[in-house]
Subunit: 264 residues, 3 copies
């Protein structure tokens, strides 16, 4: 029985990209594939890295395929990474996408470069390594092939990392950044922001967010519909929401915009 | 072999919410999950209840997970409900979402409150009971755990019900309501509307819908492209469509708006 | 063990149409279903046919369900087609949707009309043959039923074909057509366009596309962000893209619009 293959990408659901990768995995005798998310904003490597890091702990160990790959077809490497903790393998481009998830599970124990993997589909299309390189490698890992049979050994120290914006404190104001949005318009701040929050802000009662009145809450319904809420989200990061509305729209936020949280 | 788990929600497909719940089910040794629908309009409990009722008869009996949960994290209960007909169990919030499907299969035989289920993922996030409460409960039911091992017994008589708008007749005019829309812009009326339709309206030929000329039909192509059609939809409810167009947009309808169907 | 069922449609992901078809397949003892694509533009039979043709070679042989069906409920036939090459069966409406994929695998060896198949779900809804006719037929084929037990024999010569626009050459200009778009806004030209391209256009360096400067490339990153690229796409067709942008939007293209590629 093949190991579980999970799949995250920015391919979206409109096209056949995801389905064709499922087909490639099925042809190799693995699957069905567990789709983690395919609505990562197009080409947004960091957003994909953040989602992968937070989602994998909820999945059983397996082969974790991830493709957000604006540099597809260039010199950027393709990699498969065996992690130190649990029996997990990541497969995808070496552009930072896998960096946070790898770190979450103790770092990389063994790495191979798979761009010219013996199991790739030839001719490899310059624009679709998900199908021609990464899916075949993931499928073979799922059916038991050893990592080193699928590519050239690589020094994990040379893997591409990922920069995240850093929250800071100015007096009694926490200055964090909008590092992610979900489909409800809820806004995630950096995962470190919570620990940094000045004690003057408390953890209950009134605050100001981006100059507007808001309240600390545990869940959306702790404020009336249409009002602003600061809370710890389902992944333990500080977040900003509007009950039954969109904080993203309400505050006009774009990725990496500063979000200032201060006393009422 | 685990029982089938089906899943309906308003989580949408952009985020990792659905995928993470799949992961939780897989970790517990169940799955793959059959996704019934995740595009239920956000927070629209009634729309979710209507879709669940109409979709389940087409699925084999199993564990039917459903999450449309604007009150997540409040005092609203989470429940698992064994139904009287067929061997079906519903899992989700006790906010009316499960009410119509339960009624469709003879009502509830046995109920438990699962908010503090021994299989929940601790710490339970106040905003994501789908992941931390409902998915683990559904997975354990699928792998054979008895209902009562997963929560506290609950009197089914106390479960939250659901109100639907009621169609009525005024002279030879049927006054129904837009209770659902699909992605094509087809408009579903209440399931009881058909039985109520005055005989003067017939079942073929010309009628007026919302003041505009329309025709009875069996299928979209019974009227020319761009024209209005009244028909019995695939779930035997009266519905209004525009052939190769959107009746929702054409008539400017919002949820629960009255739709008047009268003689030509 | 049931054979693989793949599924392509224009049902979209918002509604329960796809999920209910999965349910019908599961009830018949087959599945899980491999979703190839459900974001085919609504009612666009040709777009569906093009996607099916290019995607199937990446999937293992199986039962390939496809539904883009603007004429559902009319006299158009429903068919199941055993192909000459590999052990593949196509199931769907006889409106051209299956024509290109059938041709890709050597044509049709045996055909049956399934609209009144003994395994259909009665009463068949006039607007949802995917659920009531095609999914039950596909599931029975997957669990081993012989083709001819599922419908009336049909002469393959009478199946509906599909017209595609034809590229042409005017002097040293290639005049092709936009026959498909993906979610990134990349534009596919006819698959024959590449072979027809005048040698004056070369395969590298500068060209003009729709009157604008562009370059030949192998992948998106071969041009600076925001600039136009002509390339061979992942399915070996000529295509036009904007690196990290949308060529569709940039050039204001609609389906079948001419795309002129000439010397710089």
């Amino acid at each position: 029985m093949a190991r579980l293959v999970t799949f995250l990408s920015d391919y979206g659901w409109e096209d056949d990209f995801v389905g064709v990768c499922h087909g490639v995995v099925a042809r190799a005798g693995a699957g069905p594939v567990l789709d983690l998310a395919h609505g990562v904003p197009r080409h947004d490597v960091r957003a994909g890295a953040l989602v992968l890091r937070r989602a994998l702990p909820y999945c059983p160990p397996g082969v974790h395929l991830a493709v957000v790959d604006p540099g597809v077809g260039t010199a950027r490497r393709g990699v498969a990474l065996a992690l130190r903790e649990e029996d997990r393998v990541l497969v995808g481009p070496d552009n930072g996408l896998l960096a946070l998830a790898a770190e979450r599970f103790g770092g990389v124990r063994e790495a191979v470069e798979v761009s010219r993997s013996p199991v790739r589909l030839e001719p490899v299309a310059a624009t679709f390594h998900g199908r021609d390189v990464f899916a075949p490698v993931a499928a073979r890992l799922a059916t038991g092939a050893p990592l080193r049979s699928l590519g050239e050994p690589l020094d994990p120290a040379g893997l591409v990392g990922l920069e995240l914006p850093a929250p800071r404190v100015e007096g009694d104001v926490l200055v964090a950044h909008a590092v992610g949005f979900d489909g409800y318009g809820n806004v995630s701040l950096e995962s470190e922001a919570g620990a940094l929050a000045p004690s003057a802000l408390g953890r209950s009662g009134a605050v100001r967010v981006a100059g507007r009145p808001a309240r600390w809450g545990r869940t959306f319904a702790d404020v009336p519909p249409g009002e602003l809420l600061v809370y710890e989200d389902a992944y333990r990061s500080l977040a900003v929401a509007v009950n039954r509305g969109s904080a993203r729209a309400e505050l006009g936020l774009r990725l990496d915009d500063e979000v200032r949280i201060g006393p009422a």
